[in-house]
């Protein structure tokens, strides 16, 4: 049970900053790593130490296990935290770190491997007595087998990649006639995405909700769960808004799902923080889908309602400490919601928008937490995941949390790059979302008429003010330009702007 003194944070961006903050709070030194694109990133600036990994592409930097271990040795780190993404669920990395004498902050490599394989994870769940989606426990090889399994399950069925995630290699089949072609296309998509074309069949859960249980297990066999997160708001199978508690879980259902999640954890020999994901059908029956053997992006909503710092808890467990809580110590207080803010333009097909953050105003006040890697002057690089901030709001009930989120989104100004803030502003005004009445298909449906909403959502007063602002903006730009043409290239607007409000153009 060695006290951890220096943690290599094998990640970048907002999650690296999050982990570094936990280190600072615990009096632990954080060692940052950076690619050439990230020398000025906040995680480098907030860390105690920082080392260059390599060129900008992730394959040359954040995915380089050899360089990470070299830096761990050079910096004198005694532990490594992988964050999420990159190498977070790479058992080879975990194994290499342990072999190098480092404490890996996460589950043991062999556990990571077994729960990371969908088929093995499914078998673990079955052995633990947890409900799973009806279907084949084994990959299917040919269309005839698939057809006979599907007939037994009843249509519609889902074909899913064994190595899958993010909706790749996934097909819904409504009719036996489509089995063969769907199997072929799912397998080929899975192969090109994961290098593994194996596919299995499950009964399709119609209009499902995605609800997951946060678990926390120590190395002494103590296991607790920290309630659920509602993650049904997904765009193309990617979570965009999460909340805790789920608006539809009863205490009884939460208890049963928690018990199932912990049984799976026990069966897998799981330790450290993890997430057990379930689908809920329209009868509120739940089915295990997978284990995420790492910290999740949406961990903050659980932190807000339980008061527990999950990163600090991960570190304590990795040190070998027993959990300081028993299940009865855990209760969910109030409600929390998270928006994943991306550097993407929702009005333009969610095309990525890296670039210079010319202006930034961060929301504040009661119940607001901003976990971001932004600062004014930061240049969002083109190479990595476009998530730039996680905005979290807490309230004593769900409607207060939503109201605060609405307010915070309005306060948040990121100037210079487009972000998905307008997407969340749309979602948070939608009656079905406000009522808690949505499933995993809801968001894609909502966005069919464009992110900014249908025309009937327009508002005369807002239109008038927007048009006036646009006219003002254009007038000032053209005026400044005319002045420059008449007076030579050196603009006097620097002085004039102070008084006339033209500072915008003088910067």
């Amino acid at each position: 049970m060695a006290k951890i003194k220096r943690i290599l944070v094998a990640n970048r961006g907002e999650i690296a900053v999050r982990i570094i903050r936990a280190c600072r709070d615990l009096g632990i030194e954080a060692v940052a790593v950076y690619s050439d694109a990230d020398r000025e990133a906040l995680h480098v600036r907030y860390a105690s130490r920082a080392y260059r990994l390599g060129p900008a592409p992730a394959a040359d930097s954040y995915l380089r296990i050899d360089r990470l271990l070299e830096i761990a040795a050079e910096s004198g780190a005694d532990a490594v935290h992988p964050g999420y993404g990159f190498l977070a669920e790479n058992a080879d990395f975990a194994r290499a770190a342990v072999a190098a004498g480092l404490t890996f902050i996460g589950p043991a490599p062999e556990v990571m491997e077994s729960v990371g394989d969908k088929n093995r994870a499914r078998q673990i769940a079955l052995a633990a007595g947890a409900p799973t989606v009806p279907g084949s426990p084994e990959p299917v090889e040919d269309a005839d087998t698939a057809r006979s399994i599907a007939a037994e399950l009843g249509y519609p069925v889902m074909l899913k990649a064994v190595a899958g995630g993010g909706g790749k290699g996934m097909r819904r089949v409504d009719d036996p006639a489509d089995i063969e072609s769907s199997l072929r296309s799912a397998s080929s998509e899975a192969n090109s995405a994961f290098g593994d074309g194996r596919v299995y069949i499950e009964k399709a859960i119609l209009n499902p909700r995605h609800v997951e249980i946060q678990i926390l297990c120590d190395e002494h066999g103590n296991r607790i769960h920290l309630g659920e997160r509602e993650c049904s708001l997904q765009r193309r199978h990617q979570k965009v808004v999460e909340e805790s508690p789920s608006p539809i879980l009863s205490d009884d259902l939460r208890e049963r799902m928690g018990v199932a999640a912990l049984a799976i954890a026990a069966q897998a020999g799981y330790s450290n923080a993890g997430t057990v994901e379930f689908l809920l059908d329209e009868q509120r029956d739940f089915y295990f889908i997978e284990v995420n053997a790492r910290l999740q992006v949406e961990h903050a909503v659980t932190e807000m309602v339980t008061g527990i710092d999950l990163v600090a808890a991960q570190i304590a467990v990795a040190e070998g400490q027993p959990l300081p809580w028993r299940q009865e110590d855990i209760s969910l207080k109030g409600a929390a919601i998270e928006c994943r803010i991306y550097a993407e333009d929702p009005a333009n097909g969610f095309s990525p928008c890296p670039g210079l953050v010319e202006g930034l105003r961060v929301p504040g006040g009661p119940g607001i937490r901003d976990d971001s890697a932004l600062y004014e002057g930061y240049d969002v690089p083109i190479y990595y995941d476009p998530m730039i901030s996680k905005l979290v709001a807490w309230g004593h009930d769900r409607s207060t949390a939503l109201a605060r989120m609405r307010r915070a989104l309005q306060e948040y100004k990121v100037v210079g790059i487009a972000t998905t803030i307008p997407l969340f502003q749309r979602i948070i005004e939608d009656p079905a979302f406000i009522a808690g009445d949505f499933d995993t298909g809801y968001l894609d449906e909502l966005l069919q008429d464009g992110v900014l909403g249908p025309d009937h959502d327009r508002h005369d007063e807002i239109d008038d003010v927007a048009a006036i602002a646009a006219a003002l903006h254009t007038f000032l730009r053209e005026e400044a330009r005319a002045f420059q043409i008449h007076n030579g290239s050196r603009s006097p607007w620097k002085l004039a702007g102070r008084n006339s409000g033209l500072r915008d153009f003088s910067r």
């Binding site: 333009d345 890296p354 100037v415 307008p422 005004e429 646009a470 003002l472 254009t474 915008d504 910067r507």
Partner: protein, 174 residues
């Protein structure tokens, strides 16, 4: 100056006469129905691209993003909404129109910084509206830039693998 503002979804553009009077910016709407009242705006720019407007006692904190490829295309962020619009100096717009009307050359511009991963049409190729011209990659996502109208690709100014800034001219169609 006459400023024309076309809000997305509106049938017709709004026209404003905007001028400085005693240092203040005053504005009159000149739509079909004739002569509106001239109002002098109570406005400030406390932050870059952010306007604080007070209109009839109401306070509006407006953030305006210009499209990097076309400064006339604006996204106006206001009260949890985004209103897309095109705003221009009416006289200037006429000049541009004369030179590059619907039949003039069209420029394909990088909408964001990124890397050119594929050039789909060589110089001299005839294209129809919607054909892909160039694939640009940024943040693990590929974006196909499409021909906004029929024509011939007269120049391609970048190479595959090249990194480009947002706003870079990539190709021209005539």
């Amino acid at each position: 100056m006459i400023i024309e503002v076309q809000l997305e979804g509106d049938d017709t553009a709004r026209r404003y006469r905007v001028a400085r009077e005693d240092g203040e910016v005053c504005l009159r709407r000149l739509d079909d129905d004739g002569d509106g009242e001239t109002v002098c705006l109570d406005w400030r720019t406390p932050e870059p691209r952010v306007y604080s407007l007070l209109i009839e006692g109401k306070s509006y904190d407006v953030h305006i993003d210009e499209n990097s490829a076309d400064e006339e295309v604006l996204e106006v962020h206001l009260l949890s909404r985004v209103i897309r619009s095109r705003a221009s100096d009416a006289r200037k717009r006429r000049i541009v129109k004369d030179g590059a009307g619907p039949d003039g050359p069209v420029q394909i511009v990088a909408p964001m910084p990124g890397r050119v991963v594929k050039i789909l049409t060589a110089e001299g190729t005839a294209v129809t509206r919607g054909d892909g011209i160039i694939v640009l990659e940024a943040m693990k996502m590929e974006n196909e830039l499409k021909a906004p109208r029929d024509g011939i690709v007269v120049s391609v100014l970048v190479e595959e693998g090249q990194g480009v800034e947002g706003g870079t001219l990539l190709a021209t169609i005539e």
